[in-house]
Protein backbone atom coordinates (compact mmCIF):
# COMPACT_ATOMS: atom_id res chain seq x y z
CA UNK A 1 0.00 0.00 0.00
CA UNK A 2 1.20 3.45 -0.85
CA UNK A 3 0.88 5.14 2.49
CA UNK A 4 3.64 7.62 2.64
CA UNK A 5 2.03 10.84 3.72
CA UNK A 6 1.40 11.21 7.46
CA UNK A 7 0.71 13.98 9.91
CA UNK A 8 4.30 13.95 11.10
CA UNK A 9 5.70 14.99 7.74
CA UNK A 10 7.13 18.13 9.23
CA UNK A 11 10.55 16.63 9.74
CA UNK A 12 12.57 17.68 12.73
CA UNK A 13 16.07 18.17 11.48
CA UNK A 14 18.22 18.34 14.57
CA UNK A 15 17.87 16.63 17.95
CA UNK A 16 17.41 20.04 19.51
CA UNK A 17 14.41 20.78 17.30
CA UNK A 18 13.03 17.33 18.04
CA UNK A 19 13.39 17.95 21.77
CA UNK A 20 11.66 21.31 21.48
CA UNK A 21 8.83 19.76 19.48
CA UNK A 22 8.49 17.01 22.09
CA UNK A 23 8.29 19.46 24.98
CA UNK A 24 5.97 21.75 23.05
CA UNK A 25 3.69 18.81 22.38
CA UNK A 26 3.54 17.96 26.07
CA UNK A 27 2.69 21.55 26.99
CA UNK A 28 0.11 22.08 24.24
CA UNK A 29 -1.35 18.67 24.99
CA UNK A 30 -1.68 19.53 28.64
CA UNK A 31 -3.32 22.84 27.78
CA UNK A 32 -5.75 21.08 25.44
CA UNK A 33 -6.74 18.75 28.28
CA UNK A 34 -7.32 21.70 30.59
CA UNK A 35 -9.46 23.41 27.94
CA UNK A 36 -11.59 20.30 27.63
CA UNK A 37 -11.99 20.18 31.39
CA UNK A 38 -13.05 23.82 31.25
CA UNK A 39 -15.91 22.92 28.90
CA UNK A 40 -17.23 20.16 31.15
CA UNK A 41 -16.92 22.15 34.38
CA UNK A 42 -18.91 24.89 32.66
CA UNK A 43 -21.79 22.45 32.43
CA UNK A 44 -21.22 21.21 35.96
CA UNK A 45 -21.57 24.58 37.61
CA UNK A 46 -24.58 25.87 35.67
CA UNK A 47 -27.81 24.05 36.43
CA UNK A 48 -29.52 26.15 33.75
CA UNK A 49 -27.90 24.05 31.06
CA UNK A 50 -29.55 20.82 32.19
CA UNK A 51 -31.77 19.61 29.39
CA UNK A 52 -33.38 16.59 31.06
CA UNK A 53 -37.15 16.45 31.07
CA UNK A 54 -38.63 14.20 33.73
CA UNK A 55 -41.17 12.51 31.55
CA UNK A 56 -44.01 10.96 33.47
CA UNK A 57 -43.95 13.84 35.95
CA UNK A 58 -44.25 16.52 33.27
CA UNK A 59 -47.05 14.78 31.40
CA UNK A 60 -49.39 17.66 32.21
CA UNK A 61 -47.21 20.25 30.51
CA UNK A 62 -46.16 18.18 27.52
CA UNK A 63 -46.86 19.89 24.23
CA UNK A 64 -47.44 17.57 21.35
CA UNK A 65 -46.74 19.11 17.95
CA UNK A 66 -49.81 19.86 15.83
CA UNK A 67 -48.61 17.62 13.01
CA UNK A 68 -47.46 14.79 15.25
CA UNK A 69 -48.14 11.43 13.67
CA UNK A 70 -49.38 9.13 16.39
CA UNK A 71 -52.01 6.72 15.12
CA UNK A 72 -54.85 7.08 12.63
CA UNK A 73 -58.11 8.33 14.10
CA UNK A 74 -61.38 9.44 12.62
CA UNK A 75 -62.75 12.90 13.20
CA UNK A 76 -66.15 12.92 14.91
CA UNK A 77 -68.25 16.03 15.43
CA UNK A 78 -70.35 16.79 18.50
CA UNK A 79 -73.20 14.62 17.32
CA UNK A 80 -70.88 11.68 16.82
CA UNK A 81 -70.97 11.88 13.02
CA UNK A 82 -68.03 11.46 10.71
CA UNK A 83 -67.44 12.31 7.06
CA UNK A 84 -66.15 8.96 5.88
CA UNK A 85 -68.03 7.59 2.91
CA UNK A 86 -66.32 4.24 2.83
CA UNK A 87 -64.71 4.92 -0.55
CA UNK A 88 -61.65 2.84 0.35
CA UNK A 89 -59.00 5.20 -1.09
CA UNK A 90 -57.10 5.15 2.19
CA UNK A 91 -57.13 1.36 2.11
CA UNK A 92 -55.46 1.48 -1.31
CA UNK A 93 -53.03 4.18 -0.24
CA UNK A 94 -51.78 2.21 2.75
CA UNK A 95 -48.51 0.42 2.01
CA UNK A 96 -48.96 -2.19 4.72
CA UNK A 97 -52.60 -3.29 4.60
CA UNK A 98 -53.24 -1.55 7.88
CA UNK A 99 -56.70 -0.33 7.02
CA UNK A 100 -59.74 -2.38 6.05
CA UNK A 101 -62.84 -0.44 5.06
CA UNK A 102 -65.85 -2.70 5.28
CA UNK A 103 -68.91 -1.20 3.64
CA UNK A 104 -72.58 -1.96 4.01
CA UNK A 105 -75.79 -0.57 2.48
CA UNK A 106 -78.32 1.69 4.08
CA UNK A 107 -82.10 1.47 3.59
CA UNK A 108 -82.00 3.32 0.29
CA UNK A 109 -79.39 0.92 -1.01
CA UNK A 110 -76.57 3.47 -0.92
CA UNK A 111 -73.09 2.25 -0.02
CA UNK A 112 -72.08 3.49 3.42
CA UNK A 113 -69.28 2.73 5.85
CA UNK A 114 -69.85 -0.32 7.98
CA UNK A 115 -66.67 -0.81 9.92
CA UNK A 116 -63.40 1.05 9.59
CA UNK A 117 -60.80 -1.36 10.90
CA UNK A 118 -57.35 0.01 11.70
CA UNK A 119 -54.50 -2.22 12.81
CA UNK A 120 -51.92 -0.18 14.66
CA UNK A 121 -49.61 -3.19 14.93
CA UNK A 122 -48.97 -3.02 11.18
CA UNK A 123 -48.93 0.73 10.79
CA UNK A 124 -45.71 2.59 9.89
CA UNK A 125 -47.33 5.98 10.62
CA UNK A 126 -46.46 7.20 7.12
CA UNK A 127 -49.39 9.62 6.79
CA UNK A 128 -50.33 8.43 3.28
CA UNK A 129 -53.90 7.49 4.18
CA UNK A 130 -54.56 10.91 5.71
CA UNK A 131 -53.13 12.61 2.62
CA UNK A 132 -55.16 10.51 0.24
CA UNK A 133 -58.51 10.98 1.96
CA UNK A 134 -60.67 13.23 -0.25
CA UNK A 135 -63.09 14.05 2.56
CA UNK A 136 -60.70 14.84 5.39
CA UNK A 137 -62.32 12.14 7.46
CA UNK A 138 -59.21 10.80 9.15
CA UNK A 139 -56.27 12.44 10.91
CA UNK A 140 -53.16 11.29 12.69
CA UNK A 141 -53.84 11.18 16.45
CA UNK A 142 -51.74 12.89 19.04
CA UNK A 143 -51.33 9.98 21.46
CA UNK A 144 -47.83 8.67 21.78
CA UNK A 145 -48.22 6.18 24.62
CA UNK A 146 -49.38 3.37 22.42
CA UNK A 147 -47.92 0.32 24.14
CA UNK A 148 -50.36 -2.34 25.29
CA UNK A 149 -50.01 -5.80 26.78
CA UNK A 150 -52.08 -7.66 24.23
CA UNK A 151 -51.73 -7.62 20.50
CA UNK A 152 -55.50 -7.74 20.07
CA UNK A 153 -55.79 -4.34 21.66
CA UNK A 154 -53.93 -2.82 18.71
CA UNK A 155 -56.84 -3.34 16.35
CA UNK A 156 -59.31 -0.46 16.39
CA UNK A 157 -62.68 0.21 14.84
CA UNK A 158 -62.48 3.90 14.11
CA UNK A 159 -66.04 4.78 13.15
CA UNK A 160 -67.39 4.86 16.68
CA UNK A 161 -67.50 8.12 18.62
CA UNK A 162 -64.61 7.36 20.94
CA UNK A 163 -62.68 5.18 18.54
CA UNK A 164 -63.30 2.21 20.80
CA UNK A 165 -60.97 -0.69 20.79
CA UNK A 166 -62.26 -3.90 19.33
Amino acid sequence: MKQTLTHEDRQQNSPRQACCAYLLKIITGFVSLLKGMGVTIGYFVSPKRIVTQEYPENRENLQVMARFRGHVSMIHDDKGDHTCTGCGICEKACPNGTISVLTTKDISGRKILGQYIYRLSQCTLCNLCVESCPFGAIVMGKDFELAVYHREKLTFILNTPQGERE
Binding site: I26, L33, G36, M37, V39, T40, I41, Y43, F44, P47, R49, I50, V51, T52, E54
Partner: protein
Protein backbone atom coordinates in the same frame (compact mmCIF):
# COMPACT_ATOMS: atom_id res chain seq x y z
CA UNK B 1 -0.51 25.74 66.56
CA UNK B 2 0.98 23.12 68.82
CA UNK B 3 2.45 20.18 67.03
CA UNK B 4 0.31 17.10 67.45
CA UNK B 5 1.82 14.40 69.60
CA UNK B 6 3.35 11.44 67.89
CA UNK B 7 2.80 9.01 70.72
CA UNK B 8 1.11 5.84 69.63
CA UNK B 9 -2.04 4.77 71.35
CA UNK B 10 -3.80 2.48 68.93
CA UNK B 11 -6.24 2.02 67.50
CA UNK B 12 -8.23 5.06 68.63
CA UNK B 13 -7.48 7.90 70.89
CA UNK B 14 -10.73 9.76 71.20
CA UNK B 15 -13.68 9.87 73.60
CA UNK B 16 -14.85 6.35 73.00
CA UNK B 17 -11.35 4.87 72.89
CA UNK B 18 -10.32 6.49 76.14
CA UNK B 19 -13.56 5.48 77.84
CA UNK B 20 -12.91 1.87 76.90
CA UNK B 21 -9.37 2.22 78.20
CA UNK B 22 -10.54 3.40 81.63
CA UNK B 23 -13.32 0.82 81.84
CA UNK B 24 -11.36 -2.23 80.68
CA UNK B 25 -7.69 -1.42 81.09
CA UNK B 26 -6.53 -4.98 80.26
CA UNK B 27 -8.54 -5.79 77.16
CA UNK B 28 -8.90 -2.19 75.89
CA UNK B 29 -6.72 -2.82 72.85
CA UNK B 30 -8.85 -5.70 71.59
CA UNK B 31 -12.18 -3.98 72.24
CA UNK B 32 -11.02 -0.82 70.55
CA UNK B 33 -9.73 -2.80 67.61
CA UNK B 34 -13.08 -4.55 67.27
CA UNK B 35 -14.93 -1.23 67.40
CA UNK B 36 -12.68 0.29 64.75
CA UNK B 37 -12.93 -2.70 62.47
CA UNK B 38 -16.72 -2.71 62.68
CA UNK B 39 -16.79 1.01 61.92
CA UNK B 40 -14.51 0.39 58.98
CA UNK B 41 -16.66 -2.47 57.72
CA UNK B 42 -19.67 -0.21 57.90
CA UNK B 43 -17.78 2.46 56.01
CA UNK B 44 -16.60 0.00 53.37
CA UNK B 45 -20.11 -1.26 52.76
CA UNK B 46 -21.74 2.18 52.67
CA UNK B 47 -19.02 4.05 50.84
CA UNK B 48 -19.40 2.40 47.41
CA UNK B 49 -23.15 2.88 47.56
CA UNK B 50 -22.65 6.58 48.13
CA UNK B 51 -19.78 6.86 45.66
CA UNK B 52 -21.73 5.18 42.89
CA UNK B 53 -24.58 7.62 43.47
CA UNK B 54 -22.08 10.47 43.50
CA UNK B 55 -20.43 9.28 40.33
CA UNK B 56 -23.76 9.08 38.56
CA UNK B 57 -24.83 12.49 39.81
CA UNK B 58 -21.55 14.16 38.94
CA UNK B 59 -21.49 12.51 35.53
CA UNK B 60 -25.02 13.68 34.92
CA UNK B 61 -24.15 17.26 35.79
CA UNK B 62 -21.11 17.19 33.52
CA UNK B 63 -23.37 15.93 30.74
CA UNK B 64 -26.19 18.45 31.22
CA UNK B 65 -28.46 15.79 32.69
CA UNK B 66 -30.14 15.29 36.04
CA UNK B 67 -29.04 11.75 36.82
CA UNK B 68 -30.98 9.47 39.14
CA UNK B 69 -33.94 11.37 40.59
CA UNK B 70 -36.61 8.85 41.42
CA UNK B 71 -35.49 6.55 44.25
CA UNK B 72 -35.18 8.60 47.40
CA UNK B 73 -34.26 12.27 47.60
CA UNK B 74 -32.53 13.06 44.30
CA UNK B 75 -32.03 9.36 43.75
CA UNK B 76 -29.99 8.89 46.88
CA UNK B 77 -31.23 5.34 47.34
CA UNK B 78 -30.76 4.44 43.70
CA UNK B 79 -27.49 2.62 44.14
CA UNK B 80 -28.80 0.77 47.19
CA UNK B 81 -31.66 -0.45 45.02
CA UNK B 82 -29.20 -1.44 42.31
CA UNK B 83 -27.03 -3.24 44.82
CA UNK B 84 -30.05 -5.10 46.16
CA UNK B 85 -30.96 -6.12 42.65
CA UNK B 86 -27.44 -7.39 42.02
CA UNK B 87 -27.53 -9.44 45.21
CA UNK B 88 -30.70 -11.21 44.14
CA UNK B 89 -29.56 -11.84 40.60
CA UNK B 90 -28.48 -15.25 39.46
CA UNK B 91 -24.76 -15.80 39.41
CA UNK B 92 -23.88 -17.19 36.04
CA UNK B 93 -20.80 -19.16 35.24
CA UNK B 94 -19.82 -19.59 31.61
CA UNK B 95 -19.31 -23.07 30.27
CA UNK B 96 -15.68 -24.10 30.45
CA UNK B 97 -14.81 -21.57 33.15
CA UNK B 98 -12.47 -22.50 35.95
CA UNK B 99 -15.04 -22.55 38.76
CA UNK B 100 -12.78 -22.06 41.76
CA UNK B 101 -10.73 -19.27 40.21
CA UNK B 102 -13.81 -17.70 38.68
CA UNK B 103 -15.41 -17.22 42.08
CA UNK B 104 -12.18 -16.44 43.91
CA UNK B 105 -11.31 -13.57 41.57
CA UNK B 106 -13.90 -11.00 42.74
CA UNK B 107 -13.00 -11.57 46.38
CA UNK B 108 -9.39 -10.50 45.95
CA UNK B 109 -9.85 -6.86 44.88
CA UNK B 110 -12.60 -6.41 47.46
CA UNK B 111 -10.47 -7.69 50.32
CA UNK B 112 -7.38 -5.85 49.11
CA UNK B 113 -9.11 -2.50 49.25
CA UNK B 114 -10.48 -3.29 52.69
CA UNK B 115 -7.01 -4.13 53.94
CA UNK B 116 -5.61 -0.83 52.71
CA UNK B 117 -8.46 1.02 54.40
CA UNK B 118 -7.16 -0.31 57.72
CA UNK B 119 -4.13 1.94 57.72
CA UNK B 120 -5.66 5.12 56.30
CA UNK B 121 -5.28 7.84 58.93
CA UNK B 122 -8.82 9.17 59.13
CA UNK B 123 -7.87 11.35 62.03
CA UNK B 124 -5.07 11.80 64.47
CA UNK B 125 -5.19 8.43 66.27
CA UNK B 126 -8.20 7.27 64.31
CA UNK B 127 -6.63 4.46 62.42
CA UNK B 128 -6.81 0.68 62.87
CA UNK B 129 -3.06 0.29 62.67
CA UNK B 130 -0.10 2.42 61.80
CA UNK B 131 2.73 0.14 60.83
CA UNK B 132 6.09 1.83 60.50
CA UNK B 133 6.27 0.68 56.90
CA UNK B 134 2.74 1.79 56.04
CA UNK B 135 3.65 2.92 52.53
CA UNK B 136 5.20 -0.44 51.72
CA UNK B 137 2.08 -2.14 53.07
CA UNK B 138 -0.12 -0.03 50.78
CA UNK B 139 1.98 -0.89 47.75
CA UNK B 140 2.07 -4.57 48.61
CA UNK B 141 -1.61 -4.99 49.29
CA UNK B 142 -2.88 -2.99 46.34
CA UNK B 143 -1.05 -5.43 44.09
CA UNK B 144 -3.66 -8.00 45.07
CA UNK B 145 -6.38 -6.30 43.06
CA UNK B 146 -4.34 -6.81 39.89
CA UNK B 147 -4.27 -10.49 40.71
CA UNK B 148 -8.04 -10.56 41.04
CA UNK B 149 -8.52 -8.99 37.63
CA UNK B 150 -5.99 -11.27 35.99
CA UNK B 151 -7.62 -14.33 37.50
CA UNK B 152 -11.07 -13.12 36.47
CA UNK B 153 -9.97 -12.71 32.87
CA UNK B 154 -8.23 -16.06 32.81
CA UNK B 155 -11.02 -18.03 34.46
CA UNK B 156 -13.86 -16.58 32.38
CA UNK B 157 -13.07 -18.59 29.25
CA UNK B 158 -13.84 -15.57 27.11
CA UNK B 159 -11.52 -13.79 24.72
CA UNK B 160 -12.80 -10.35 25.66
CA UNK B 161 -12.21 -11.07 29.34
CA UNK B 162 -8.76 -12.39 28.63
CA UNK B 163 -7.82 -9.36 26.55
CA UNK B 164 -9.13 -7.04 29.23
CA UNK B 165 -7.25 -8.87 31.95
CA UNK B 166 -3.99 -8.90 30.01
CA UNK B 167 -4.31 -5.20 29.26
CA UNK B 168 -5.10 -4.53 32.88
CA UNK B 169 -2.19 -6.60 34.12
CA UNK B 170 0.28 -4.82 31.87
CA UNK B 171 -1.18 -1.45 32.73
CA UNK B 172 -1.32 -1.80 36.48
CA UNK B 173 2.08 -3.35 36.83
CA UNK B 174 3.61 -0.55 34.75
CA UNK B 175 1.85 2.28 36.48
CA UNK B 176 2.58 0.83 39.89
CA UNK B 177 6.22 1.69 39.23
CA UNK B 178 5.60 5.39 38.87
CA UNK B 179 3.13 5.30 41.73
CA UNK B 180 5.77 3.74 43.95
CA UNK B 181 8.39 6.23 42.81
CA UNK B 182 6.15 9.15 43.76
CA UNK B 183 5.47 7.61 47.15
CA UNK B 184 9.18 7.09 47.48
CA UNK B 185 9.72 10.77 46.85
CA UNK B 186 7.46 11.69 49.76
CA UNK B 187 9.04 9.03 51.95
CA UNK B 188 12.42 10.44 51.03
CA UNK B 189 11.59 14.00 51.96
CA UNK B 190 9.64 13.12 55.10
CA UNK B 191 12.02 10.43 56.29
CA UNK B 192 9.20 8.15 57.40
CA UNK B 193 7.06 5.45 55.85
CA UNK B 194 4.25 5.67 58.36
CA UNK B 195 1.15 7.29 56.89
CA UNK B 196 0.31 9.13 60.09
CA UNK B 197 3.75 10.57 60.40
CA UNK B 198 3.64 11.68 56.78
CA UNK B 199 0.53 13.67 57.65
CA UNK B 200 2.13 15.05 60.79
CA UNK B 201 5.12 16.22 58.74
CA UNK B 202 2.76 18.66 57.01
CA UNK B 203 1.72 20.60 60.11
CA UNK B 204 1.58 24.36 59.85
CA UNK B 205 -0.17 26.38 57.19
CA UNK B 206 -1.50 25.25 53.86
CA UNK B 207 1.89 26.02 52.36
CA UNK B 208 3.37 23.24 54.45
CA UNK B 209 1.43 20.59 52.55
CA UNK B 210 3.70 18.61 50.27
CA UNK B 211 1.80 19.73 47.20
CA UNK B 212 3.13 23.28 47.73
CA UNK B 213 6.53 22.42 49.13
CA UNK B 214 9.73 21.63 47.22
CA UNK B 215 9.17 24.64 44.94
CA UNK B 216 7.35 23.36 41.85
CA UNK B 217 8.18 19.73 42.45
CA UNK B 218 5.34 19.09 44.88
CA UNK B 219 2.63 20.07 42.42
CA UNK B 220 4.26 18.12 39.61
CA UNK B 221 4.47 15.08 41.86
CA UNK B 222 0.80 15.50 42.74
CA UNK B 223 -0.20 15.68 39.07
CA UNK B 224 1.89 12.62 38.31
CA UNK B 225 0.31 10.82 41.23
CA UNK B 226 -3.11 11.67 39.82
CA UNK B 227 -2.18 10.30 36.39
CA UNK B 228 -0.66 7.09 37.66
CA UNK B 229 -3.35 6.45 40.24
CA UNK B 230 -6.09 6.97 37.64
CA UNK B 231 -4.34 4.34 35.57
CA UNK B 232 -3.93 2.14 38.62
CA UNK B 233 -7.66 2.44 39.29
CA UNK B 234 -8.54 1.43 35.72
CA UNK B 235 -10.62 4.56 35.38
CA UNK B 236 -11.15 6.57 32.22
CA UNK B 237 -9.11 7.83 30.39
CA UNK B 238 -7.13 4.73 31.29
CA UNK B 239 -10.00 2.26 31.49
CA UNK B 240 -8.62 0.04 28.75
CA UNK B 241 -9.25 -3.11 30.75
CA UNK B 242 -12.98 -2.50 30.67
CA UNK B 243 -13.06 -0.40 27.49
CA UNK B 244 -16.76 -0.75 26.96
CA UNK B 245 -16.68 0.26 23.32
CA UNK B 246 -13.89 -2.18 22.50
CA UNK B 247 -14.11 -5.14 24.83
CA UNK B 248 -17.78 -4.87 25.89
CA UNK B 249 -17.07 -5.44 29.58
CA UNK B 250 -13.40 -6.36 29.67
CA UNK B 251 -12.44 -8.66 32.49
CA UNK B 252 -15.92 -8.45 34.03
CA UNK B 253 -17.78 -9.47 30.85
CA UNK B 254 -18.91 -12.82 32.20
CA UNK B 255 -19.66 -11.76 35.76
CA UNK B 256 -23.16 -11.22 37.03
CA UNK B 257 -24.99 -10.74 40.28
CA UNK B 258 -23.04 -10.39 43.46
CA UNK B 259 -19.68 -11.39 41.97
CA UNK B 260 -19.98 -8.50 39.53
CA UNK B 261 -21.07 -6.26 42.39
CA UNK B 262 -17.90 -7.13 44.27
CA UNK B 263 -15.73 -5.99 41.38
CA UNK B 264 -17.81 -2.89 41.03
CA UNK B 265 -17.77 -2.07 44.74
CA UNK B 266 -14.05 -2.76 45.00
CA UNK B 267 -13.45 -0.34 42.15
CA UNK B 268 -15.17 2.45 44.04
CA UNK B 269 -13.63 1.70 47.43
CA UNK B 270 -10.31 1.59 45.62
CA UNK B 271 -10.98 5.04 44.29
CA UNK B 272 -11.63 6.25 47.82
CA UNK B 273 -8.45 4.62 49.09
CA UNK B 274 -6.42 6.12 46.29
CA UNK B 275 -7.89 9.55 46.89
CA UNK B 276 -7.31 9.11 50.62
CA UNK B 277 -3.66 8.37 50.02
CA UNK B 278 -3.41 11.40 47.75
CA UNK B 279 -4.82 13.61 50.49
CA UNK B 280 -2.54 11.97 53.07
CA UNK B 281 0.56 12.45 50.99
CA UNK B 282 -0.05 15.83 49.42
CA UNK B 283 -3.00 17.62 50.98
CA UNK B 284 -2.27 17.34 54.68
CA UNK B 285 -4.60 14.41 55.37
CA UNK B 286 -6.65 15.07 58.49
CA UNK B 287 -5.00 18.43 59.21
CA UNK B 288 -7.23 21.44 59.01
CA UNK B 289 -6.13 23.96 56.40
CA UNK B 290 -4.50 26.95 58.12
CA UNK B 291 -3.93 30.16 56.23
CA UNK B 292 -2.05 32.08 58.89
CA UNK B 293 -5.06 34.32 59.35
CA UNK B 294 -6.05 34.78 62.96
CA UNK B 295 -9.78 35.17 62.42
CA UNK B 296 -10.43 32.05 60.38
CA UNK B 297 -7.77 29.58 61.47
CA UNK B 298 -9.24 28.62 64.87
CA UNK B 299 -12.61 28.12 63.20
CA UNK B 300 -11.13 25.74 60.66
CA UNK B 301 -9.11 23.97 63.31
CA UNK B 302 -12.26 23.48 65.37
CA UNK B 303 -13.75 21.18 62.70
CA UNK B 304 -12.67 17.60 63.50
CA UNK B 305 -9.81 16.08 61.52
CA UNK B 306 -11.75 13.21 59.98
CA UNK B 307 -14.11 15.70 58.36
CA UNK B 308 -11.14 17.43 56.78
CA UNK B 309 -9.87 14.06 55.65
CA UNK B 310 -13.18 13.32 53.94
CA UNK B 311 -13.39 16.80 52.40
CA UNK B 312 -9.92 16.47 50.88
CA UNK B 313 -10.53 12.91 49.77
CA UNK B 314 -13.78 13.80 48.08
CA UNK B 315 -12.08 16.69 46.35
CA UNK B 316 -9.59 14.24 44.84
CA UNK B 317 -12.45 11.88 43.96
CA UNK B 318 -14.14 14.77 42.17
CA UNK B 319 -10.95 15.27 40.17
CA UNK B 320 -11.02 11.59 39.16
CA UNK B 321 -14.61 11.98 38.05
CA UNK B 322 -13.83 15.15 36.17
CA UNK B 323 -11.11 13.35 34.23
CA UNK B 324 -13.36 10.42 33.52
CA UNK B 325 -16.22 12.43 32.10
CA UNK B 326 -14.04 14.67 29.93
CA UNK B 327 -11.34 12.64 28.22
CA UNK B 328 -11.34 10.00 25.55
CA UNK B 329 -9.64 6.72 26.28
CA UNK B 330 -6.01 6.05 25.46
CA UNK B 331 -4.99 3.10 23.35
CA UNK B 332 -3.10 0.27 24.99
CA UNK B 333 0.24 1.04 23.34
CA UNK B 334 -0.12 4.76 24.04
CA UNK B 335 -0.67 3.90 27.66
CA UNK B 336 2.57 1.97 27.76
CA UNK B 337 4.31 4.80 25.92
CA UNK B 338 3.01 7.27 28.48
CA UNK B 339 4.31 5.20 31.36
CA UNK B 340 7.66 3.96 30.12
CA UNK B 341 8.74 6.86 27.94
CA UNK B 342 7.20 9.83 29.69
CA UNK B 343 6.15 9.23 33.28
CA UNK B 344 8.95 6.95 34.38
CA UNK B 345 11.84 9.13 33.14
CA UNK B 346 10.07 12.18 34.51
CA UNK B 347 9.70 10.38 37.81
CA UNK B 348 13.36 9.55 38.00
CA UNK B 349 14.31 13.12 37.18
CA UNK B 350 11.86 14.32 39.80
CA UNK B 351 13.34 12.00 42.38
CA UNK B 352 16.85 13.24 41.62
CA UNK B 353 15.76 16.86 41.74
CA UNK B 354 14.01 16.27 45.04
CA UNK B 355 17.17 14.74 46.44
CA UNK B 356 19.11 17.75 45.21
CA UNK B 357 16.57 20.16 46.71
CA UNK B 358 16.73 18.22 49.94
CA UNK B 359 20.48 18.40 50.02
CA UNK B 360 20.38 22.13 49.35
CA UNK B 361 17.67 22.59 51.98
CA UNK B 362 15.17 24.07 49.49
CA UNK B 363 12.19 22.36 51.04
CA UNK B 364 10.47 25.57 52.09
Amino acid sequence: MNPLSTETLYPVQNGIGNMVRTLFPESAFYINTLITISCLLLLVSLLPVFLIWLERKVAARFQARLGPMRVGYHGLLQSSADGLKLIFKEILKPEGADTFVFFLAPVLPASATFLVMAILPFDHHLQVADPAGGVIYVIGISGLSVLGILLAGWASNNKYSLLGAMRSGAQMISFEISLVLIMLLIVMVTGTASLREIVLSQQGTVLDWWIFKLPGLGIIAFLMYMISSTAELNRAPFDISEAESELTGGFATEYSGISFAMFFFAEFVNMFVSAGIASTFFLGGFLAPQFGLAFIDPLLAFIPGFIWFFVKTFFVIFLYMWFRWTFPRLRVDQLMYLEWKMLLPANLVLLMLAGFFLAMGWIL
